[in-house]
């Protein structure tokens, strides 16, 4: 019983570390890709159309949340053989 739990714990930790590595790679790519592309446009929008910027800001953070949730859920499922929790 204890041995099974330990084995399961080790497997979970291993999967978590792999997730972290994959996730870090995705985040690094994100920094260089999305932020460099979005940055100048958002600054311009913030200076010229503050109300539009406010709406775009909230849409961006919600959009990113939905996207990242889907990615992390997908990663969890992939690494844990169909289980996401």
């Amino acid at each position: 019983m204890i041995a099974t739990r330990k084995r399961e714990g080790r497997r979970t930790l291993g999967a978590f570390l792999v997730e972290l590595v994959l996730y870090s790679l995705l985040v690094t790519a994100y920094f260089f890709g999305v932020l460099l592309f979005l940055g100048p446009r958002l600054v311009q929008l913030e200076m010229q159309h503050i109300r539009v910027y406010a709406v775009v800001a909230i849409l961006l953070i919600i959009g990113q949340a939905i996207l990242l949730e889907a990615i992390t859920t997908g990663l969890l499922r992939l690494l844990r053989g169909g289980r996401s929790e």
Binding site: V27, L38, A54, I58, T73, E85
Partner: protein, 307 residues
């Protein structure tokens, strides 16, 4: 890394790690984590107005992730969350107006600090007493032998007699909440959400530190559902705050987006972790959070400068 909207240089790794820590706390306890995120952003050299607005934007993203995960686990009462929206927005607006009135009177910092210390300390003291008593009672009735997620979610509270009395108040219209297994007056729900919104507008952040305990003790919502539903409510209150702050030029969305990459994974871990703890244990573990908030405010009051 240079963030041109707020004209600040911040290490993105620091932002991601801070987001991750706040994400875990938020997913597990159903709080926004503004009492940690605000000072953390301030410590990175961000102006206070940007720290507050940017933190709110990051809270929205993190709460979307955590609430989605809690919904998948069956921990969100959508009907309750939607009814609460009315009180939350109304309360947030009045809280913000109250701040403006105190600003005009010239004593906003002192009053907000004293109120927040009193609120944080009261919540912590009450929750220590209640969860301790509930856990002691559970141990006496030998509930430790029970195991499994379903039994973990069966909640108990030493304050249940007061909650039951509130549920017996028949003030029309009565609302049935099948997900939470509760029937309660519409007006009590609105009052609870109004108070949460009021604190959100008055003290800043999502006010999960007051809404989550209120959902458990006043409405009688099981702790796991209270955590998930509170996160849903934080999306609305912090979303509203983000819009108003962004219009005032207080949101650097690029910082919030970077911070959120860490929070997204942290929030999922926190949400999944709730499945392994019983309600009273989650409530007992919640106690240090308002105490950290109180310590930050006391430090600010005594030192004269914000963290």
């Amino acid at each position: 890394m240079y963030f041109p909207i707020s004209h600040s240089h911040i290490n993105p790794i620091y932002l991601v790690v801070t987001g991750f820590v706040i994400g875990v706390l938020g997913g597990f306890f159903g709080v926004g984590g503004s009492f940690i995120a605000g000072p953390a952003l301030r410590a990175m050299g961000l102006d206070w107005n940007f720290a507050v607005g940017t933190d709110l934007a990051h809270i929205v993203g993190k709460s979307v992730v955590a609430a989605k995960r809690h919904r998948a686990l069956g921990n969100v009462d959508l009907r309750l969350g939607l009814i609460m929206t009315i009180g939350t927005i109304g309360g947030a607006e009045i809280g913000a107006q109250l701040i403006q009135a105190l600003k005009r009177a010239g004593n906003v910092n002192f009053i907000v600090s004293v109120v927040s210390i009193a609120v944080y300390l009261s919540i912590s003291t009450f929750m220590i007493w209640e969860s301790w008593r509930t856990l002691a009672k559970s141990n006496r009735s030998d509930l430790r032998k029970q195991s499994g997620t379903a039994k973990i979610k069966e909640d108990q509270s030493a304050f249940m007699h007061v909650t039951k009395a509130l549920q017996r108040l028949r003030i029309w219209p009565m609302i049935r909440l099948p997900t939470s297994g509760v029937t309660i007056s519409f007006w009590i729900i609105v009052l609870v959400s109004f108070i949460g919104g009021l604190f959100s507008g008055f003290l800043g952040g999502g006010a999960g530190y007051i809404r989550m305990p209120s959902l458990v003790y006043v409405l009688g919502i099981p702790t796991h559902l209270a955590v998930g539903t509170d996160l849903f409510e934080i999306i609305i209150s912090a979303g509203y705050g983000t819009l108003t702050h962004a219009i005032k030029g207080n949101v650097d969305i690029l910082i919030a987006l970077v911070m959120h990459t860490g929070a997204a994974i942290g929030a999922q871990i926190g949400a999944i972790a709730t499945q392994y703890f019983a309600g009273p244990k989650i409530r007992l573990a919640f106690v240090p959070l308002p105490l950290i908030g109180a310590a930050i405010v006391i430090y600010t009051l005594l030192s004269g400068h914000k963290l």
